[in-house]
Every structure is written in C-alpha cells, then in structure tokens.
C-alpha cells in the first residue's frame, strides 16, 4: 500500500465538492451542546452548522478543546450529561434529535458508525477482535443470528462465537478488507496481541460491519506513528472509493486535512470559523484564525526561521468572550468583533466565514459602521492587510464582492 500523499481532489463515486440540489446526507444547523457542571454551564459546541454530502470526506479541524469530538458525539446522542439542541440535525432527512434511545441505537453502527482516537483503549480487552466485529454484523441484523442478552452471553461464556457462523465469517472478511494479514487467525486474537495500527484497522472493520453511510473518524491517527498514519488514512480513502461511504474526519492536523478531505470546517472554542472545500481553504483562507493555522504548518520551501504561531490559548469555555471567541488572540480584531458571529459567504460556493471582517458594512464603508468605531476598524483592517502577504496570494479585498 502506498503511503504517498494523495491529491486533494480525487475522483470518487458521487463525490461532490459543491452544494448540490439533492439534500445532504447529514445536515447540522446551529448545533449547541452544553454541559452543566458545578462551575457553570460549559458550551462545548456553540452554534455549529455544516452539511456532509454522499461519498464525501468532510474534515473538522481545530485545536484541542475546540469541540470537534463533542460535535461528533452529539450527533449520535453519545454526549453524556450534555444538553443538545439544534435548529436542524438531520440524517437523510430524519431528525436525529427527535429520536429516542432505542431509535438512535438503530442508527448507531448501522447508518453512522464511529472510529475513536485511541485504538489501545477503544477495543474491549477481554473480547477477541473477531467477536467485537461479529457483534456489529449481528446488530446490523441480516445474518439471522439472535442478539438477545441470553444468546450473546451464552456465545461469550459458554459456546464461544461459532467460526462457521455468518457473523464470524463476515468479521473475517472485513478484517481482510481492511488489510489485516491472516484474518482468520487474527480474528481469534485479543486486542493486546495486535499492534496499534492493526487495532485501528480492527476499529475500521468494526465501523464498516454495519454497512454505514457515514463513518465518523475522531482523530483516528493521533495515537499512531506517521507511517502508520498514512496507511490508515489511505485505507479510509480506499474504503470511501470502494463502498461510497461518507467520512467525517476530525483532526487537529491541517496536513491530514489537505491530503484527505474534500471539504473542511474550521472550529474554534466550540464555534465555526470557516468552511470551504479543501483547495479553497488552503489557497484562499479568509478567517484570520484559518490563516494563522496555515501559517503554523512547516513547509518544505520554508525560509522562515520561526514558524508563525498564534499567540495565546483557547479561552476557558466557562468564560468565553462575547462575540467572536477568537478576538482576544486575533490581530485583526476590531469593535464589531464583540457582536455575535454570523456567517459571511464568499464567491466560491460553500465557502463561508464567520468573521465580521467580511461584514458588508465594514467592507463597504457604509453607514452601519458608524455604529461601531469606524476609525479603529479601518486601522485594524489596514494593519491586517499589511501583515498578510506571506500566506495569501489572493488577499481578500473589501470591495463588496462578498454576499
């Protein structure tokens, strides 16, 4: 298997990088996930909106604590102790928030499955990997094997899972699909007998076992070393091509995004900063935070002595600043930044930026700006433009071409 980086735009079945007529596979609009703690309410996810189309690899990128994982868990009702609300949370036009636990169980594993960050701790240490996959096959329900509590416990403690059962055979097939050698033998092994990369392949096989439409991969390669990372990412992309499954890839690594994702959303402190197709995001980043992230990636043609880091830290989620959460670290911050964030669309379809720099009023020098401190805003914008030559060949001009 090749570990070379893939081109960003790839020809896969039904890959669409533009907004299409047909409804998206997953539509999330204004998602809020709030944890109630002793120190007060923590808005881990604070108004996130995105859509994932069929066969698409959609990246969510952000720093630790930016709410990427909680977003994923919220979709499946797995965010324990949190209150989840949204204007829209639809999978194939079915409202996920309206579903009770039993209905969600039918979705989990079957329609939407998950791969977690740490394969060392995400597989059950006392069950063979074959059985852990086979039980998903049984849950998917087309092999006609009982999965009542009694049947499952008897299988686990008395008879063992029969190697001639359809679910076990399917598990072995899946292990083969994800590139595990000697799958029939490996199926009988326990997780601790496998390497980290193997374990993550088992997780992928498990995620595939229910024949899902969407796989949520939450930092699937963070716990692995770089060579294995490339293999696992390629494996995921191959599976997308083979099965047409959509993938929601959560990562903190923009390099991973560039190599794998069709479209990407940038999150910060539980809020959306920018979303665009991957090429646009890298070639024409509009949000100061996105630019900061891209600047902090080392490049092969680097003549910089120091990488450009973003000063400061993610704000404490219990004490987030009003308005844009990034404004305390943002070089381009101006008075309007204290207003609640709204999305500003760019020319490129699907490119949206949650940054008041793209407010028509600011950009057009219109009347509205009088309401905020106009002089300060202009000065900040000028400084912002002046400091920006390094990364943005096509600097945004504020000439009113943004919708």
């Amino acid at each position: 298997m090749s570990s070379q980086p893939r081109p960003t735009q790839r020809a896969g079945p039904s890959v669409s990088t533009t907004v299409t007529e047909e409804p998206p596979l997953l539509a999330v609009d204004n998602l809020h996930t709030t944890f109630t703690t002793e120190r007060g309410d923590v808005p881990a996810v604070d108004g996130v909106s995105f859509a994932i189309n069929e066969g698409e690899v959609f990246g969510i990128v952000g720093e630790s604590g930016s709410g990427k994982s909680v977003t994923a868990l919220s979709l499946l009702g797995l965010a324990d102790g949190a209150t989840v609300t949204a204007d829209r949370l639809c999978f194939r036009d079915e409202d996920l928030l309206a579903k009770d636990e039993a209905a969600l169980r039918e979705i989990r594993g079957n329609d939407i499955s998950m791969i977690f960050q740490d394969p060392m701790s995400s597989l059950n240490p006392v069950m063979t990997v074959g059985e852990q996959i086979a039980e998903v096959v049984r849950h998917h329900g087309d092999v006609g094997e009982s999965q009542s509590l009694f049947a499952e416990l008897r299988r686990k403690y008395v008879t063992g899972t029969s190697e001639s059962s359809a679910s076990w055979q399917r598990a072995v097939e899946l292990l083969d699909t994800v590139g595990i050698p000697d799958p029939a033998d490996r199926a009988n092994e326990y997780p601790h007998q496998l390497s980290g990369g193997m374990k993550q392949r088992v997780m992928i096989a498990q995620a595939l076992a229910g024949d899902p439409d969407l796989i949520i991969a939450d930092e699937p390669t963070t716990a692995l070393d770089v060579t294995i990372e490339a293999q696992i990412l390629n494996e995921l992309l191959d599976l997308r091509d083979e099965f047409g499954v959509s993938i929601m890839l959560i990562t903190h690594d923009l390099a991973v995004v560039r190599e794998t994702c069709d479209r990407v959303a940038v999150m910060y402190a539980g809020e959306m900063m920018e979303t665009a197709d991957t090429r646009t995001l890298f070639e024409d980043p509009r949000h100061p935070y996105t630019r900061g992230l891209i600047d902090s990636i080392p490049r092969t043609d680097d003549d910089r002595e120091w990488l450009d880091a973003i000063e400061g830290n993610v704000p404490d989620p219990t004490a987030k600043p009003q308005g844009c959460p990034f404004r305390t670290r943002c070089d381009a911050a101006f008075s309007l930044c204290e207003e609640p964030l709204v999305a500003y669309s760019a020319e490129e379809p699907g490119h949206r930026t949650w940054c008041h720099l793209y407010n028509d009023a600011v950009a057009n020098d219109g009347d509205e700006v009088q309401r905020v401190d106009d002089a300060e805003a202009k000065q900040l914008i000028q400084e912002h433009e002046a400091s920006d030559d390094l990364v943005t060949p096509q600097r945004p001009n504020f000439g009113g071409e943004y919708r």
Binding site: R105, G109, H139, L149, Q206
Partner: protein
Amino acid sequence: MGMRRYIAKRVAHALVVIYIVATIVFFAVRAIPGDPARVLLGGDASAEAIAALREEMGLTEPLYVQYIRWMGRILQGDLGTSVFSDQSVLQMLIGVAEPTLSIAGLGMLIALLIAIPAGITSAVKQYQWEDYVATTVSFIGISMPGFWIGIVLLIIFADRLGWVPAFGYVSFRQGIIPWLKHIILPALAVGLPYGGILMRMTRSSMMEVLNEDYMRTARAKGLDGRLIVFKHGLQNALIPIVTVAGILLGVLLGGVVAVEIVFGIQGLGRLLIASIQRRDFPAIQGAVILISFVFVFMNLLVDVLYTSINPQIKYGGSE
C-alpha cells in the same frame, strides 16, 4: 508456559508458604508465656509431676531438636497428638473442619450473590434510589462485626421467629435442609461484612469500567444497555474484584472464629481458641496449618481464575 506447568509452579509456591507459616507457628506457640504441662496438670501439681510430663511431651529437648522431629512427622502426614485429649490432631481437625468450611463456603456464596449484582446495579444506577439502598445496606454490613450480626440474627430468626435452631451444627449427611437451617445464620453473619466490602469494590470497579473508551465504543456500535453492561463491562469489572475476593477470604475465615462461638458450633475456630488457652501445641499448629492451607489454595484458585478472565495475563509471565 502452559496451564499445567503454571499450576504446578503455583502449588510449589503454596507449599513453601505453608511451610513458612508452620515454622512461624511452631516457634510462636513456644514463645507464649505458660507451660503446657502446668496448664494440663493444674495449679496444685507437684514440680516432679510437671517435670515428668514435660519430659514425656518432649519439651525438655533443645528447640531445634523439637522442630526437626516435628517437621519430620509432618512430612509423614502426622500432625501429632493433642496434649489435652490424647486424640490425633488430624482426626480432630477433620471433625471440626466440616462446620467451619460449610459456614465459610456458604457465607462466601451469599456474599458474592448479593454483592456483585448489588454493586453492578449501584454503579449503573449511580445516584438513583437503587444506588442509595445498595450502598446504605453495604455500609451497614461493613460497619457491624460478624459476631454482632450473628447475635442480632439469632435474636430475630431463632429466638423471636423460631424459624431456625439457635445453636449447634448438623452435618449435611443428615440432610441438606437441617444442615442449611443450622448454618444459614452463621453464614449470613460472616458473609454480610464480606459482601459489604465486595459490593463497594464492585461498585467502584464497575463505575470505572463504565467510563472506559471501549464502553463508549460499544455504545457507538448501537448495542443496548444491558448487553453493554453484561457483555462488555462485567468481565472487565470482575478482574480487580476477583483479586480482592481472594485476599478478603482471610477476613472471612477470621470472622468464622467469633461466629462459631456465638452459635455454639464446634468448629475450627473454637478448637483453635480452646487449644491456645490449653497451650495444646500440636493442636494449635495443626489448626493453623489447616487454615493457611485453605487460604493459600483458595488464593491459588483465584489466580487461576484470574488468568482465565483476563486474557492479557499469561501464565507465569513472559518466560
């Protein structure tokens, strides 16, 4: 290393432990103030009579000679003869072991049958009424010593309600029901404190397991709640519990001694205490060896069980 070799090695270890225990007991009983010959003959015996009895009991010889002789006899399976009753110690032990092991065994069974389901319920229904009931009951169990629980049970079930006899022991050979009637209260008395501790252990262990990543994986697979708890959680939660259950067995055996006295049962514990009072060296030594034998081999059983519920443990490590 295979299962068989592992067990052989562990049995050898166990025998060494028992040997060390026997040696310590041999010297310890001889360090207790009080002369067995004087205790046996009473306060007004003549010095000559005592000296003659000491000679007869072999107590005049140097300690190391006594030790080597005793060890030699033990290796031949001879635990000696009771100074007090002239009975073979082995015979005495066989007579008293049955009631003690019956009480301890049933007590442990009761403890496990109550503690593990209660602990799981408590962890799954954390901070709900089931949890409060279970933790309160277990706290009561932990707080009261076994003999006190025994007295309370005696007053309620034997004296007031008259459901079971208050005293004595009937062998299971005379019928399972009478046997159970005689040992149920003592078994509860030793089992409840033991079960209380085990329940707390199960609760905390299960709560820890419920927060593990693989439990979240199981939920993300769409499995239902009971399947997640019993198929994915229970075996992992049992790993630390099995270890503790083996170690706590010593607590349980200790509890039996006091409970036998409360219920007037001629068991190992009563024999041991009576023998210490009489300075009956062979009987003390025999009783302690038997207790350490039971304890060591129960722990061996626990370890074998442990390797089978935790696939990450290989027999005897990476040799």
